[in-house]
Symmetry: C2
Subunit: 758 residues, 2 copies
């Protein structure tokens, strides 16, 4: 049963590739033709009308119209009886119920994943003797013998080698621990990649590019399915615990979307309307904002009651600095921004190049081997360096931290002035001790390691997020810069730049703040999610005080990165995979016209059209057999070429099949007509077939002189699938979303054939 | 000079009313017709092409296209020389420069207004002897003789009666102070209304409805002008200081918009493009978000350096509560939400009814008298009650406040248990003393007074905002409920509902929190600005802790108010004034079709059209003289009615005038043609006139069967001015934005003639 379900999904995926050449979209019509009285008749015989095929784009206008109809029906029925009124109230509230359920489930999953990751990450190094399901931290919390200084050391927690050999020191012990660490990592990652391969191939990657595409109105069946939800949750834990350079934030978004899809299927309002189910398209309606806010709140409360971070706080890295920042510090902050932008550019280019190689060469055929190899290399290189051995989020947390007087970490090994006794919170700048210099070297090595390995990790066939590795790169670089500035300010406080704000004995530089700024810059460079970034960092710091440094770095990083290429990592992956995503941010500024883009091109065969009252059933069937367009324009006659409407392939097929079975006298030579009244035919002719009810009488048209800039805007804002091109009322051609995307790719000097879906 | 400037504005306004019957929009064409090589020629002879008339709607698609052209030109020129490159860089940065300037100026103005309001509000009661420009608070700050308990009393600050008579007590002194208070109030409000009347009639009201309309693409010349800026700033101070029940938040938005417009005129990028100047239309581009954020930041820093609130904080009401809230408290919070919703509905209905009466009866002719009368009534009723005598923001601040052990105000007159000595921050619930009961009565009276007077105040011909009065109503109601719950919990802590969370001696109810929740609910009920509300309240509280109470109240209030009518106060005023504003939130769910809305209606004369090559110059001139449409469709011939384009009235007039003056052989009987090649004419005919360059070859069309739902969506999302209606390529009619708005009004059972502008 497992296998079948997953296989089906995969087959759909493969099948869809065969549809690549389809270039015509189609608009179903029942709601748009104003023939409301025919709707009931229509609902019955064509149960499939209105659904989309896999890997097709949805028509937003039509989905909206369908929802209005549904709403209208419920409202009018609700006046009939109490029962119908209750049903209408339930319908109105279903959105909130779905939000509540999503919040509860995704909050729970996030908490469970956090706890599981903590436990399994520590399992690579050792085990808690008092309760094997405790992580290192939980194990030593419950221990009574731990002093404040040695929070991490308690007798209950034993490393594997200690447990096996009884020794805690020596080269042999180290090697054994090293070996077991690698072994656990390989085991976790092998399990992860195998589960993904076998049960839910869609569970790999971060899922953000696909979700962006799906939300913009694209169908990928199974991508947000139950199996994907289950397998992604499990494999995410395994992948993060294996110590690979990846994060869990992106995949968590995918998991939450799967929850949403799951609960949507409980309510016909959402399950039957692809537009309503997405609800957030390019534009975010106010109502949706409230609901998202509500869902986020429920999730946050659920998460807090699980309390995975053990500090009653909802944020991953809680920071509190005691020193304000100074104007002059903007210079290093902006430099960190430049670094973030360069890192973003490097990462995107290198990662895309590697992913393209994976797609096009033999490499892509051995995903399990690839994951195993990368895990092995990561584990081998990571273990010797204390800053890469631990989990990346712990590393970031330490880098963000301000060195209080009680900190015992290597990074806080400053030489204290014994004569000074100040309150705990206000420690002046001090000279760095040997521990700090040691840490600097290790951090520099960790930086290079993270930069290189992340490029190869992101995009493998396991769940993998980018937030944490990107932030780690930035935080390491930021902390190094921060310590450098701090030491410079201490040793050279007579320099002009330091004179004004950094007198001797003052606490003027906070290296932790630099780490945070660096993290924001690197995250911004990679994702370009500038707005979300500011919100995230607001959450982290909780004040206006540090928004200026963060913003300065994030904006610089965005500018630097944009100078090398406008696309963030997610957009680049969307392009690499050829998804039909019309980015609102891409400004189209070329002077091409609709006539340059429309099909048929010069030398192409003429457009496949139907006439309003001269085509026969046989003609239609031939046309359907010979072409694979999704729909056909209907014109008055081939001579006048005046457009009267558009008919969808799917509806046409169903209508004719139905008529042949149920309607007497419909034969191959019957004339199909789309007009209100039957055409005047000789008495000898067979009975004609009226198909006006499936005709969309309001197809979208533009003239051939319309600038493509306007056409792109129309496609984007109205969510069209296709648009007909006319001149003085004559039909000239058709432009589909795919044509628009191809044209945009071409204008940006990219391969137009990279746009694959319709 | 003053008079002329203001008069001109007014005249424009009056003139525009005569244009009410104009129902055709028009789209200029230079960028859309693909005739780029003609552009230079076009730029010269018609300098007015591309500008809009006062009280007209702009065409977003066209403005966007114009900006793309400008940008393209600059980019291509920038490769020619260093100077052009620098110019192009300056152009790219001008947006940020404008933001910086806006931030600086509006931050400064906000600070100055705050300081001036503080001083003038206190001036009504007395004066600072040591320095007359000090407000009461500043005066006593600098005094050495003030103890902490008597912060408000210092010898330097003297009430007017004390200064005049030397006495501080007695009925005569009270009456004299009362009388002078009223006199000052009348003086301030008279000055305010006179300044508005004489110099800048657009400076009245909150300005939010008009700004919403202007941002959605409407021209009101002078509304955001220099004079409006100056006069609104001055009169806002006067109006707020006069003690009227109005706030300064709404007018400050108008002031900031004026700043924006002022600085936009420095850069041709913005001053010459109505779309670019607005930039924020219905959709908020990411780039704009960043820039707004930047401007807000600059403004915040400017404001902080002025420090008008004297507490280094950027928020008006800084609150800090020490007690969490309990689930059971959601019941009173939701009740406050219901109150807020009811207040919102009552206020909107009563205020709109009063404003309609003002517009339609004699009342509207005596604005100065009205203001004087309302100020007089307000001052007479407000002075005796200490909660209405002081400024409303001080009142709100006190109501939000948690009663610490050091508070000396009447509201904090609780009976302390002498045996308990607890830390300052953790005071248990205590029984209320006589002061609290006294305060409750006064607050109840203040509540009724505020509710009634605000209805008559908002909409008078002075700058007036709604935030503060609305919040005051909510805060008073909330505090009363809060004290009631607190006392109930103290005296009946054995009741089941209190048993779980409120043991004796615990601090379980914070009346200040109730006040805040009430304020949010009332603000939400009146404005329905739910999102902004959450952000504002986030700012106020700075934590997730109180978001649930706030959200519960705000959502309840919105639901209750929405049940009585979807429009907030601003939308209601937009409707009352007949502005052409297409609200994104209004869902259009009726089943009408384009054919039901388009002009000409049945029995109307046929649509005024031009033919592509048979109309003469004289025909065109007659058409322009006889009709007042803003533009005319061009068809192949009157028989075929096939549409080829759209030409704007303004362009047509200019082109013909120009041709008659400069082009030889163009006479009344010359044929005007819009085709590429001149028509075949007998040799005896005068030289024809080619006007293809002013023809818009890509007018927007829909079919007559298109549902109005879709048409409304298209108008909204693409920002169209008009749309042509066709059937099978034949032109049937035209739908303008005004027709859409009228149709929507009709469908909502409102008077369609209330939509006045085009």
């Amino acid at each position: 049963r497992f296998l079948t379900s997953a296989q089906t999904t995969r087959d759909d995926g493969k099948k869809s590739r065969d549809f690549q050449q389809v270039h015509c979209g189609a608009t179903p019509t029942e709601e748009m033709n104003g023939a409301g009285n025919l709707m009931d008749f229509l609902d019955e015989p064509f149960p499939d009308v209105g659904t989309y095929e896999d890997f097709h784009t949805i028509d937003w206008l039509r989905e909206k119209s369908r929802d209005t109809d549904r709403h209208r029906k419920i409202t009018s029925k609700s006046k009939e009886s109490i029962w119908e009124l209750i049903k209408s109230l339930l319908d109105a509230w279903s959105g909130w119920v779905v939000m509540l359920l999503i919040g509860l489930l995704s909050g729970t999953l996030a908490g469970v994943i956090d706890l599981a990751v903590d436990w399994m990450t520590d399992l690579k190094e050792g085990v808690c003797l008092s309760a094997f399901w405790y992580s290192h931290e939980q194990c030593c919390w419950t221990s009574n013998e731990t002093t404040f200084d040695d929070r991490d050391k308690c007798p209950q927690w034993q490393k594997w080698a200690e447990l096996m050999t009884g020794h805690t020191e020596g080269a042999g012990v180290y090697v054994l621990n090293y070996f077991l660490y690698i072994l656990w990592a390989l085991l976790f990652s092998f399990l992860a990649v195998s589960l993904v391969r076998v049960f839910a191939p869609y569970a790999c990657g971060s899922g953000i590019p696909e979700i962006k595409t799906i939300l913009s109105g694209f169908i990928i069946r199974g991508y947000l399915g139950k199996w994907t939800l289950l397998i992604k949750t499990v494999t995410l834990v395994l992948a993060v615990s294996s110590g690979l350079s990846l994060g869990k934030e992106g995949p968590l978004v995918h998991v939450a979307c799967c929850c949403g899809n799951l609960f949507c299927s409980l309510f016909s309002k959402y399950s039957k309307n692809e537009g309503k189910r997405r609800e957030v398209s390019y534009y975010f309606p106010l109502k949706t904002l409230w609901r998202s806010f509500f869902a986020a709140l429920v999730a946050a409360f659920t998460l807090r009651s699980i309390n995975p971070f053990g500090n009653s706080r909802l944020v991953l890295f809680y920071v509190e600095y005691h020193t304000p920042w100074y104007m002059a510090e903007l210079v290093p902050f902006i430099l960190l921004g430049v670094f973030g932008g360069l890192w973003g550019t490097l990462f995107i280019r290198a990662n895309i190049a590697w992913c393209r190689r994976r797609k096009t060469t033999q490499l892509g055929k051995y995903p399990v081997l690839e994951v195993i190899a990368v895990t092995g290399i990561t584990a081998v290189l990571a273990y010797p360096n204390p800053y890469t051995r631990r989990s990346t989020s712990e590393l970031i947390s330490e880098l963000f931290n301000d060195c209080g007087s009680l900190e015992s970490s290597q990074l806080c090994d400053y030489i204290n002035n014994p004569n000074m006794s100040r309150p705990v919170d206000d420690i002046p700048d001090r000279p760095a001790g040997p521990g700090v210099y040691n840490a600097l070297w290790q951090l520099a090595l960790a930086l290079i390691f993270k930069i290189v390995i992340t490029i190869f990790t992101f995009g493998m066939k396991i769940p993998s997020g980018l937030f944490i590795p990107s932030m780690a790169v930035g935080a390491i670089a930021g902390r190094i810069v921060g310590i450098a500035v701090e030491q410079m300010a201490y040793h050279h406080h007579d320099w002009i730049i330091f004179k004004n704000w950094c007198r001797p004995g003052a606490d003027c530089v906070t290296p932790g703040l630099y780490a945070m700024v660096g993290a924001a810059a690197c995250l911004g460079g990679v994702t370009r999610m500038t707005v979300s970034l500011v919100v995230i960092m607001f959450e982290l710091t909780g004040g206006l005080e540090y928004i200026v440094p963060l913003m300065a770095a994030a904006v610089t990083s965005k500018w630097v990165a944009d100078a090398f290429g406008k696309e963030g990592i997610y957009e680049s992956h969307i392009q690499l995979n050829g998804y039909p995503y019309l980015d609102v941010r891409d400004e189209f500024t070329h002077r091409t016209l609709a006539t340059d883009v429309m099909r048929p091109r010069r030398n192409d065969p003429p457009l496949a059209v139907l006439t309003q009252d001269t085509t026969t059933v046989e003609d239609v069937e031939t046309l359907i057999k010979d072409t694979d367009y999704n729909g056909f324009p209907v014109v008055v006659s081939r001579e006048s070429e005046r457009l009267i409407g558009f008919v969808q392939r799917r509806d046409l097929t169903l209508a004719i099949k139905n008529a042949r079975q149920k309607q007497d006298g419909v034969v191959s030579s019957s004339v199909v007509y789309f007009t209100e009244d039957a055409p005047q035919l000789p008495a000898s002719n067979p009975q004609p077939l009226k198909l006006r009810r499936i005709l969309n009488l309001s197809p979208f048209t533009v003239t051939d002189h319309t600038p493509m800039e306007t056409v792109v805007d129309i496609f984007r804002k109205l969510g069209l699938r296709q648009c007909l091109v006319t001149r003085s009322g004559r039909l000239l051609g058709i432009i589909t979303k795919k044509d628009v995307l191809r044209h945009m790719a071409q204008m940006m000097n990219q391969d137009p054939e990279s746009i694959m879906f319709n």
